[in-house]
């Protein structure tokens, strides 16, 4: 019977990645001045698990590599060796390496062992360092054992005589001599022997009154007449050999004449005859020893160790290629599932109640119907919330990579940085969390690189040596807010302004508020870094960050204070699939604006309007000018062109600027489920998706940023045409 183990592989991979995360965070949390034993244990266990699983499931290269890691960890755990910074760095490199190997295996491709082999030799060097240490624990057989390998005397009878004197409490370990005899018999039968002779010895049996029923006082002499190897017999007694007295002798060397033999017994020895047996001469004992390994340390290896501990080769992040390799599972707490089950139960009750009502309905029961419907609404809402919660995971998963990142980066930039993470339990949708990872990384790198000053500069300015980066997450309204805050120098308004003018993003004399200046960093192609460092500053960052966040229906803002630091705030909806929408009517059609993009809605008055060119209007909104666009125009909706005076205007904010959209009428607000338009059709400009309204008809959801881009495109086209 052969079992296909590949069905367990996916679980093994997931479990291993988690284990690697635990190893990493534990390694980072290690205080080398006061090493916490439990932490070391945790790291050891994680490596041990991975090694065990890898071996079991056939990933021998991983198993082999992890073995050396585990060995070193074991020594540290046992107190045979202290743990040093170099070790920690090496271990962290191993975590990275293992991640890569696992990803390769998960994607079904051959793992690239170059880094692993390199690390392995480093570990071996450490393990061999100075002392002579056996690679594996010496497996000494402390029992008495014969290795009568010398005499290959074929002349005599083939077989063995075994003296088996079990320790008194052999039964208390769950071992059963009868089992061993049975195995011996099977072995003998395989070796074409003629069975087993088992001779019990009852000398040690005490008086009945002082006999302990759980103890074994019997010993045995077993004659096996079969052509079998000693090692096979030893295997049978493997578990008890340390506690019991076992002696082997080849039959050809025994004098069996003194033995009174009995037939093989199927059960424990019957007390028939008490026989006194002279112990035949035994051979000299030989203790098995594993030859001690003495690997050679070369100076080269040590030097290489030092060098590589400092320089960490940049590793290209390998992403799993095949679909199967994507982590498409999610861990859900039992409570959430139970809650869900309860809610569905209530829904079923409501449904059957309404069903019954429907069958025998008359107007007098209208009240019951309305109650039932409101109950249904509540059930549905609760169910919806519950289901959404299932996809929610604490943001700590997204934050978990930052301790390592900050540590590596601060080393690289030679700055002292403290990372504070708050609100790690705040939950958000799993997919949103996966997509917010990269933008967050960019923001943190940015803060570290540009925001925080060097130690010198900080102390010069009376600040603490170490800068602080704070990651904070909390719920606000129907959204989750994530903040990346630093206590560095803050955004340099002048530099930003200058750069923007240089790049032609703003005019020289343009008057901007502070927040508008800060906002400039999100423009495409913007970067104030004089030297494009490897870390950030390539100028492709911030606008991509903003775009990625916009794709999640979210937004990002920045605020800053000179000399005190900057705060980036990301606002995201709690889930991708549901949107809070404002329904509007334009002509005969109903459209939906995401509520999160709406600034305000007003009715236009002539006094607010300014005509710029031909058909371009702007309106004055407090101290800014907002261009006006007509949805009717952009979407080419049939209908009379209405007058702007008295028209309904919805002021929305896209990525960067505000726009006022003219609609015919504001309808209600409701939560809508976002349905894909692209699945069966195509991507439509300025439309982000569709939804199904209460009456079953389809309404399109407007993509505000797309709309803004489109209208500015049209604007510039018109301008060039007019010119």
């Amino acid at each position: 019977m052969s079992i296909d183990l590949s069905q367990f592989h996916q679980v093994f991979f997931e479990e291993s990645f988690e284990g690697l995360d635990i190893m990493e965070s534990s390694l980072l949390a290690l205080d080398l001045t006061e090493v916490d034993a439990e932490t070391i244990n945790t790291i050891f266990r994680a490596a041990h698990s991975i090694k065990g699983g890898a071996g079991t499931f056939g990933f021998m290269q991983v198993s082999g590599f992890t073995h050396v890691v585990e060995t070193l960890l074991d020594e540290i755990r046992a107190g045979d060796r202290g743990i040093e910074q170099d070790h920690v760095d090496l271990f962290l490199q191993c975590v990275d390496c293992l991640r890569g190997l696992m990803s390769d295996l998960q994607a079904g491709s051959e793992p690239d062992m170059t880094q692993a082999d390199d690390l392995k030799s480093k570990f071996e060097a450490i393990l061999a360092g100075g002392e002579v240490v056996a690679e594996s624990a010496i497996d000494t057989q402390t029992g008495n054992q014969d290795i009568s390998d010398g005499s290959t005397d074929d002349s005599g009878e083939k077989g063995w005589k075994i003296e088996f004197i079990p320790c008194e409490d052999v039964l208390c370990t769950g071992n059963e001599p009868y089992r061993m005899f049975r195995e011996l018999q099977e072995l003998a039968e395989e070796g074409e022997g003629n069975g087993l002779e088992v001779i019990p010895h009852l000398e040690r049996l005490p008086e009945l009154s002082s006999m302990h029923p759980e103890m074994c006082y019997i010993s045995w002499t077993i004659i096996v007449r079969a052509d079998i190897e000693l090692s096979e017999i030893e295997e049978i007694f493997e578990w008890v050999v340390d506690d019991c007295d076992i002696r082997y002798q080849r039959l050809s060397e025994c004098d069996l004449s003194t033995l009174e033999t009995h037939q093989a017994v199927e059960s424990s020895a019957e007390v028939t005859d008490i026989v006194v047996i002279d112990n035949a001469d035994t051979e000299q004992e030989e203790i098995n020893t594993v030859p001690l390994k003495t690997p050679v340390i070369s100076e080269k290896i040590e030097k290489a160790l030092e060098e590589s501990a400092v320089k960490i080769a940049p590793k290209v992040e390998k992403k799993a290629v095949t679909k199967a390799a994507e982590n498409t599972s999610i861990r859900v707490s039992i409570d959430k599932i139970d809650g869900l089950i309860n809610m569905v139960g209530e829904l079923v009750i409501t449904q059957s109640m309404l069903g019954q009502l429907g069958q025998e309905f008359d107007v007098s029961r209208l009240q019951s119907l309305q109650e039932g419907l409101s109950q249904l609404e509540q059930n549905t809402r609760e169910l919806q919330e519950s289901v959404m919660k299932i996809r929610m995971l604490p943001i700590s998963f997204a934050f978990s990579r930052f301790p390592r990142l900050v540590r590596d980066l601060s080393k690289q930039l030679d700055k002292e940085v403290e990372l504070v993470m708050l609100g790690e339990n705040t939950e958000l949708d799993k997919t949103v969390m996966e997509k917010i990872g990269d933008p967050l990384v960019h923001l943190v790198r940015n803060s570290l690189d540009h925001g925080l000053e060097s130690v010198q500069e900080r102390t010069d300015n009376g600040k603490s040596r170490a800068g602080t980066i704070t990651l904070n997450a909390y719920h606000h309204g129907g959204n989750i807010v994530i903040e990346v805050k630093d206590d560095g120098a803050g955004l340099n308004k002048e530099r930003i302004r200058k750069k923007a003018i240089e790049k032609g993003i703003i005019a020289e004399d343009e008057h901007l508020t502070d927040s508008q200046v800060y906002d400039l960093i999100f423009q495409a192609g913007f970067s104030t870094a004089d030297v494009v460092s490897d870390v950030s500053g390539r100028g492709v960052g911030m606008d991509v960050v903003r775009r990625n966040i916009a794709e999640l229906n979210g937004s990002i803002d920045v605020s800053s204070k000179d000399g005190e630091g900057s705060t980036f705030s990301i606002r995201l909806p709690l889930t991708l699939a549901i949107l809070d929408g404002q329904l509007v009517r334009v002509g005969e059609e109903v459209y939906i604006f995401p509520l999160v993009s709406i600034v305000e809605s007003i009715q236009l008055e002539k006094s607010m309007l300014n005509n710029i060119t031909g058909n371009q209007f702007v309106m004055q909104l407090r101290n800014e000018y907002v261009p006006i666009v007509s949805l009717q125009d952009i979407f080419n909706i049939d209908g009379e062109k209405k007058d702007l005076e008295g028209a309904m205007l919805v002021v929305v904010e896209g990525d960067t600027e505000k726009v006022g959209i003219v609609v015919d009428e504001l309808l209600g607000q409701q939560q809508v489920v976002i349905k894909s338009l692209e699945q069966n059709y195509e991507k439509v400009d300025s439309i982000s998706g569709a939804t199904i309204l209460g009456d079953g008809t389809v309404a399109l959801i407007v993509d505000i940023s797309g709309l803004n881009n489109k209208s500015s495109e049209n604007k510039s086209e018109d301008q060039t045409q007019a010119a």
Binding site: E589, G614, F635, L677, N680, G696, V698
Partner: protein, 186 residues
């Protein structure tokens, strides 16, 4: 002898079963009979109002809600550049589904009326004559004669592929007309 009878005869003679026979759903449009592979037909519905998609090609009427999925509806007359007609209570929408490289795609086509289901074998079909170089012939797989009627068999995959170019062209056309309108005003 009708085609079908001849087919049966052939089978009897050659001993082969109707391996290459496929079933086609046929429908009428502007007096012509067209056929689509029945395996591509998901369901048949009556016409219902669609939600317009802004700046879509003229033959895309809009989208409908099909049990929770958003499905675009295509007017086949418009697609084939035939004369448009008013929709009536007997106007029919055939919901088709095909496998594309992007996955499964579902779309509905508006036709005049549904006709019949025929079993047609490949060997009986003929290629459409290359008379007119037209968008239309793109969608035609082959022609077949059943009971003295010509049925035009359509390539559903091509039919349901919306040319990106066309969408962009449509947008430009509309934009131009807008500008013209504005110019007229001035």
């Amino acid at each position: 002898m009708t085609n079908a009878a001849r087919q049966k005869n052939n089978d009897a003679v050659s001993g082969t079963g109707s391996d290459d026979e496929q079933q086609y759903l046929t429908f009428i449009m502007a007096g012509e009979e067209y056929g689509v592979d029945i395996l591509a037909v998901q369901e048949i519905r009556g016409w219902e109002a669609t939600t317009v998609i802004p700046n879509a090609p003229e033959y895309i009427k809009g989208v409908i809600n099909l049990r929770g999925t958003i499905v675009p509806i295509m007017d086949l007359r418009s697609r084939f550049s035939l004369e448009r007609v008013e929709y009536s209570p007997v106007t029919v929408v055939i919901i088709l589904k095909v496998e594309t490289e992007r996955g499964e795609r579902v779309m509905g086509i508006v036709v005049d009326a549904v006709s019949d289901v025929h079993s047609i074998s490949d060997s009986d079909t003929r290629n459409s004559p290359e008379l007119i170089e037209d968008l239309n012939t793109e969608f035609i797989r082959s022609l077949v004669s059943v009971d003295d009627n010509m049925i035009i068999l359509l390539d559903v995959q091509r039919l349901l592929t919306i040319d990106r170019q066309v969408i962009d062209q449509a947008v430009d056309v509309v934009a131009d007309t807008d500008n013209d309108k504005e110019k007229d005003k001035e």
